[in-house]
Every structure is written in C-alpha cells, then in structure tokens.
Amino acid sequence: MFKGLKSIFLVVCLLILIGSCKKRKEGWNIDALIPVIDSKLDLQHIFEDDLVKADENQLLNLVYENEILNLKLADDFQIPDTTITQDNPGPSFNLVWDKKNPLISDTNESKFEITNANLTEARIASGKIKFKVSSTITEPTIITYNLSSAFKDGKQLIITKNAPAGSPSNPAIIEDEIDLSGYLLDLRGKDKNDYNTISYYFTVRFADELLPDTTYIYNQDDVVSIVNSFEAIQPEFVKGVFLTTTEKPDESASDFDAFSQITSGSLEVKKASFAFNFENYIGVDLQGQVNALTAINTKTGKSQKLTGDFLTQSLNLSRAKEDYSLYQIPIIPGTAEYKLDESNSNITDFIQLMPDQVNYDLDFTLNPLGNISGGNDFLFADYGIKAFLNMRIPLNIKANNLQLVDTVDFDLGEADEGTELIEGGYMRVHAENYYPFEAKIQIYTLNAQGVIIDSLMESNSVIDAGIPVNGKVVSPTKSVVSAPINPAKTDLLYQAERAIVKLTFNTVESDFQDIYSYYTSKVDVVGDVKYRLIIK
C-alpha cells in the first residue's frame, strides 16, 4: 500500500471536507487564514517501508530485496507408496508343533524404490503403515509385527494383535493402521549396510499354549499372510547419498514490486547494482547455472534480458551443515553472492524498464562431483535453495513524467456545524521543496460505482523543484498548490467512497540528480477561506 499517497489524500480531504457550505443568512463573510497542517514530505516515506535508505555519503539509494527462488527438493526424495506382501504357509506335511514355541518367526527386508538417492535415514513428517494379516490357523494366535527400522522416542515400532481362529475357507483377518509421523526410519536394512531398505520382524504365537491341546498339527493349510502398505510417507528429513542430478525449478517467474507504485513515465538511472545471493539449505554441493534473467513490465508489455558475465558462469554453492545447537533452524546454509553492476552488465537498462516481474531460467546440479560426503548428504523437507535478487540503485536519476498512483478508501462521515460555516475559498499547500524534481499532484474521487466524480486540486498543481548548486540543493524552493472549496465540490466529496492519488515527478535539470537524505519537502497546509461569522 502506498501509504504516502494515502496520507496526502487524507490531508486534502481533511481540508476540503470542511467546506460544507450551506448558505446562511445571518452573520457575514470574513476572509480567514487558518493553519491546518504542519508537516514534511520525505521520499523515504513515499515508497514502501525501508525501500529508500541513505548510504555513508548521505545519498539516498533505492534498496530492494526480493526472494526470486525458493526451491524445495523434498518431492524428489520421496519414499514412494510401497506394499510388501509376505505369505507364510505351513509345511507340506503334518507337523506336530509344540505350542510353546512361536509358530512363525521371520525377519524380512524390503527396499523402497527411491530414485535420486540412496537413503540411510529418514525422519517421517507424515504417513502411515497399513497392516493386514490373514490367518488360516485354526486356533487363536497372537501376532507380533516389529518394524525394527522404525524408532520413536527410542522405542521400536511393535504391533501385537490377537487373531481369532481361522480356516482355509474363512481366514481370520486383522487390520490396523499406524501413524508413522515422528518416526525415524533406519533404511540400512537389518545388517546396517544397505540403503533405502527397511527390516521387520514377524512372529505368530498361539494364544493358549495348553488348550485345546499342547500341540498343533501344522501343515500347508495353515497360511499366515501379512501385507504391509507404506502410504503417503512424507519425510521431514532424509540422509544418505544424493545421486548427481540436475534440478530445474517448476516456477520460472517472480513478482518484482520495487516499482509497483509507478504507473507510467520514465526513470533514468546512472548506476545500479544487483547482488544475487544464493543460500543452500541442502547438505549437498550444488552447481548452478543462470541461463537467462529477463525483466518484464507487464503494463507496457516490454521486456529486457539481462546480459553480463554472471550469466555464463557456473555458480558453486557449498553444502549446508547441520547444527542442532541452533535454536530455530538446525541448518547453517552454504552461501554465495554474485554481483552485477553497470560496468559488467546491462543492469541500468534492466532497471529503467521498471519491471514488475522477473523471469528466470536456472539449473542446479546436485553433487556434481558425486558422493564426496561419505553418505552424509541430507535434506530437510522445508528447506531447499533460495535465491535473492538484491537491488541497490543510488538515487542519481532523471525522471520524466514518472507517475506514482495509489487508490485509497475513505469515509468522511457527517459534516459538523463548524464546517458548514465555510462558504468557499481554497486550501493552500505551501511547500518548501529541496528535492530537485517538481511534483504534480492530483486527486480524483470515485463514487460507489468506481466512476470518477471530481478532481480536488487545481489543474497543474505543481510543487516546484529545488535548484541544485554544484549538484546539491542548499536552499528549498517555495511554491503553493491549491484545492478549491465550494459547496458543489464539497457535496461531491461526501458522495465519494474512494480516491485515486497521483504524483508525477519530473527532474528539471538535464543532468542526473543526486538525492540526499537531508532533502525534504516542508508542507504547511493553510485554509484560505470565506468563513461565515455569526455572533450569537
């Protein structure tokens, strides 16, 4: 929101709204000068917060920091939905089984089909295991499922269920669903020397070792089947070896709102600098390539490709480090910065387009040198690769009909008795302006249907520019702009529900003008009105 323009509008409305001028017979008109507002107008406050800052030489700079990329690669290291089925039939002959012993006791492994990485560890953010056991054992049994790869708070995932007696024609079915969130999966398999592999342990015991008998005739009709389904597993963190891959962001455009308030006109700058800052929150080495960076002004339809050394270089980003002593994010990112300015790029052309969108074409190669971390590559799901475009433009500029526009809402409410006694005149805005550019002001009011119903300021209301001497304005230029007050205009003001505030800047000198931090525009608003004086 362009709070500067909104405030200008509030000022003028405050002044003009008092001109609710119902003609009174008694009393007489006097010409009154009434101070209304004593304030200042600073460029730092016209733009969004902190967009304009002073450097060590008191020169103002337009400073803009925009995150143009936040690439998360967690989707590339997903644990896919996997179903593991294991059937455990009895022997092909009748085996007299002592019921004191587990009927089935089996350790198994299963490998996830994970592309792009050989994971040894995964902390699960969300997901579940669906667990289904069918048993044709004709006596009740106790089934224990131990996912020995899964730990939570130091405890393994163990499920114990009672299965009723079944039969080949009517097996006993047990189903369950376990939430895996918060679990740490050890994906090294049972021998701790594999990857992407889980191991689990499965036992079937008789529920009653004595009844109906102490033994059980175990044969091929006795089948216990177990189906494990891993569904919607979303890791929070993975570790292992990330294979060398090239990633390209899905999105290729980013909003660039440094010039969002400027609707038309041109801005020439002499100097500008861009700094591309990369932050790598992934525990892998990265090699980036900026194939293209294009500025687009969607209002004018124009675009400008950025050219410069930067675009032909390989950008190397070191891997991030884990540090669990850090309070919020246990990651120390790897960073890199690459700078462009007017000497090594066409950055000024890029800026002078006043883009509202930046299109980019970037590639990142993970582990370009292969596995050099000894299996300690890692990734947190919420963190990936960030790129920032930090722009600094010293305000050494030429402006040609550079127009800033904003729309504000307002509600004047009801006119009070005192304001009804003002029957005409003007609100005068006395400005003492240091800035070396003139500013034309106009405010349009809109009704509920969004139709413009009035303009508040006199036409060609211009605050004159300060005159620089040897590049600096040392004495302000005084000027006055006026908003007329009359009954008709005041009635329209009360009908309005929104307003469009327009400021148009023009530098008056032919050279580029420095803008210093001490520059300001002192504003005194004075009511120069015809007031109906009534003595009761």
């Binding site: 405030s7 010409d31 009434i34 101070p35 005068r428």
Partner: protein
C-alpha cells in the same frame, strides 16, 4: 399673544428632545392642565465607522453584504466608537401647587427602560471581526483598545419641581432595576497571523463581566440600584431684540449606580495561545488519532485566568447637559444644547433644534415642523427633521435626528427615531 405663544411653547417642551434624552426639565409645566400623561419612545444608534446597512442587517439577522462591510474601511480610524440608546417611557405629571404666591410646584412619576450599548474599538479589532485575519497577515492585530458595555435598566422615577421667581429647581430620584449587563474591557492583546497563515498567536488581557447567564427574560431583575436626576433653570436672554425671554437649564440625568447580583459572572482574562495546525513529523504519519489528540479544545481555558461569581457595582452612564431655549419669534422656537454622556464612548454633543410653526398662530392646533442639527456624540454630524402636532388636549411628536444615515445606509451611519404622545387632563 405672548401668553398664547408661551402656552404653546410650554405645551411643546414636554416633548422636546435633545440628542436622545428626555430632559426632566421639560416636566416643568405652566399651563392650566391638572395632569399630563404620555409615552415617549426613542431609538438611536450612531458610529463613526459602522454604516446603517451593516447595522440593520446584523440586527435583522440578514447578514450584511460583503460590499457593505468593505464600505466601512475608508472611515476607520485608530480609535472608533459606536453607541446605541433606546428608551421607552411612560409618564404622568401633575400640579401640586399652582398660582399660590410666587411658588409653583409640580411632580411627576415615570417608568422607563434605558438600554445602552457603548463600544470603543481600535482599527485592527474591527478589521479582524469585519473582514477577517487574512488582510492582517504578517502583522500584529492589536485588540488592546477595546471596550464594550451593554446594559439595560428599568427606572421608577419620582420627580418634584419648584419654581420661584422664574427659576426652577427640579429633583428626581429613581429606583433602578438592573435587567441585563455585559461589560468587556481589554487591557492589552493582539492576534498575530503569519504572512502565509501557517501560524496564529494570540495574547489577551482584560476582563468580561456578565449578569446572570441563566436569566432568560429581558426584564428579569438581576440587580438593583438608585439614581438621581436634577436640574436648575434660570432666565437668560440671548436674543435681546425680540420680545421673548429665554431660559438656560443645567441638568444632570441618571447619576447613580446598579449593584448586579451575586450571579454576575466575571472572567479575568490573561493568557496566550498559539496554533500552527495539526503537527506530524511526516505527512504520512498523519492519522485520525493524531488529529484527535491535537484538536484545539483548550483555547478558552488558555485565556481565562480565573472566573468569579459575585456582585458587581456599576456606575450608570449619566449625562450632563446645558440647554438654552427661546421663542425666537411667533413662529420659531429655538433650542441650543451641549451634552456629555459620561462612562460611555460618546464625544461631547452639540445640538440645535428649530421648531417652526407651519400654520397660523390663530389656529388652536399648532403644526410644527422640526429641524435638528448636531455635532459629536458617536459620530460627527447629524441632520434631522420631524413634525409636532399640539393642541390644548393632545401633543404628538414624530421625527428623526439623523436623516443622512437613512438616505444612503451603505455609506452613512446614524439612526434615530423618536415618537412621543401626551394627553392633558384639565
């Protein structure tokens, strides 16, 4: 013939007028009537600067025009004045002792209201109120030479005259009921407007007293007092060549006081105030809360040092007059008078009246055309006219002392209208 003329003269004098006063000396009567009863109404306004158009429109709440106000500018001086006097009187006079020895006595009773507005103001004060502070930008508009008195009293007057050897002494004490009172006195102050109007600074010192503000009716009693009027008339002959004798009268009217009651409010003013608009370190910081915090709601308290309730003693504005009257010839009656009103803003007032009989002296009913000329008071020159109709039974007078102000109210000041009626009982 002389006697007839004298009777007519004496009949008419009861309705003689000076600046705007009713001379109690005119109660002296030497005709054969036993009782005279009558009414007198007079309204007067004058000023050296406020023209009649402004006066009428303000009084009628029509709002004076911009041009009417501008017309006052060429007449502004460093010290200006304006005054209004209004009176409505019922009276009855009667013989007490007549034709006995050489002493003639009579008395009268009179009830009347006395309304006065008397103002003094400097050039800047009027310019501020009439035209606004815009034309005074960059200057201090001084408001130190400012005085305003508004007062209405009701009088119950009893009078007694005694004539001996053609000299007359009269005395008339009054009971005074104070109705309305407002007195404003400035002891210094100014309003400064900066050249572009971005700041105002005011200082003020003085006081303002006002009778009971909760009193709503015009004739509410808000004070009580007493006054004394007296006169002495002797024979004096200015125009020796005619056959008539003139009379010289010295008179004091309404020398007295009113004690306004304990509900009288007095503001003691001593303070200053500065206003430079709603202040914000940056225009974009201006919002409703800043405006609400800085609203100038304390202007009045900044100027008022203290407020008192309590009685207030006020000396009544009184007049001192010296009047000469003589029947110049059978048709013309002349009056010259010099009058000063004290405790008001009026200058000394010099007036001349000519009463000219228009019909034959043989007629029982005299029709007189009156002419008035004056200098001073609240303005410079006054010219007026009127008509009187008098016979043995009835006396009627109607006129104005200021025709000039009525001929061109846009430029001239001064308004006077008087109406008198009298009936005699034999």
């Amino acid at each position: 013939m002389r006697g007839v003329f004298s009777i007519l003269f004496l009949c008419s004098t009861l309705l003689s007028v000076a600046q705007s006063e009713f001379f109690i000396a005119d109660f002296t009567s030497k005709d054969s009537s036993k009782v005279k009863a009558g009414v007198w109404v007079e309204q007067s306004f004058n000023s050296n600067v406020i023209n009649n158009s402004v006066l009428f429109n303000v009084a009628l709440k029509n709002g004076p025009t911009y041009q009417s106000m501008q017309n006052m500018k060429p007449r502004l001086t460093n010290s200006n004045s304006a005054g209004y006097i209004g009176t409505e009187r019922l009276f009855a006079s009667f013989d007490i002792n007549n034709n006995k020895d050489s002493v003639i006595t009579n008395g009268w009773v009179s009830v009347y209201t006395d309304r006065q507005v008397s103002a003094r103001f400097g050039e800047d004060a009027l310019r501020l109120i009439a035209f606004g502070n815009r034309e005074l930008a960059g200057e201090k508009a001084m408001i130190d030479n400012l005085s305003l008195l508004l007062q209405q009293t009701t009088h119950l007057q009893f009078g007694y005259t005694i004539e001996k050897n053609q000299s007359v002494l009269g005395i008339a004490p009054s009971l005074v009921i104070g109705n309305k009172y407002l007195n404003l006195e400035s002891e210094g102050g100014f309003l400064y407007t900066s050249p572009i109007g971005d700041s105002l600074y005011a200082e003020a010192a003085g006081y303002m007293s006002q009778s009971d503000t909760s009193s709503l009716l015009v004739f509410d009693p808000n004070g009580v007092g007493a006054a004394l009027s007296f006169f002495y008339t002797v024979n004096f002959d200015l125009f020796k060549k005619n056959e008539y004798q003139g009379k010289l009268t010295a008179e004091v009217n309404n020398l007295g006081f009113v004690v306004w009651n304990k509900n009288t409010l007095t503001y003691h003013i001593d303070g200053n105030y500065a206003w430079g608009g709603f202040k914000a370190p940056n225009l974009f910081d201006l919002n409703d809360s800043i405006i609400d915090l800085q609203r100038p709601n304390d202007v009045q308290t900044s100027f008022i040092d203290r407020i008192e309730f309590g009685t207030r003693n006020q000396i009544l504005p009184f007049t001192l007059s010296l009047r000469y009257q003589e029947q110049y010839n059978e048709k013309v009656f002349l009056t010259f008078f010099l009058q000063q009103r004290f405790f008001s803003q009026a200058l000394p007032f010099l007036g001349m009246n000519q009463e000219i009989r228009m019909n034959k002296t043989e007629k029982k009913t005299a029709v007189m055309l009156n002419f008035f000329e004056s200098v001073g008071g609240y303005n410079l020159i006054g010219l007026g006219t009127g008509i009187s109709v008098i016979n043995k039974q009835i006396g009627l007078r109607l006129g104005t002392r200021n025709l000039i102000g009525l001929t061109n109210p846009e430029y001239f000041s001064g308004f006077n209208v008087h109406l008198g009626f009298q009936y005699k009982f034999y």
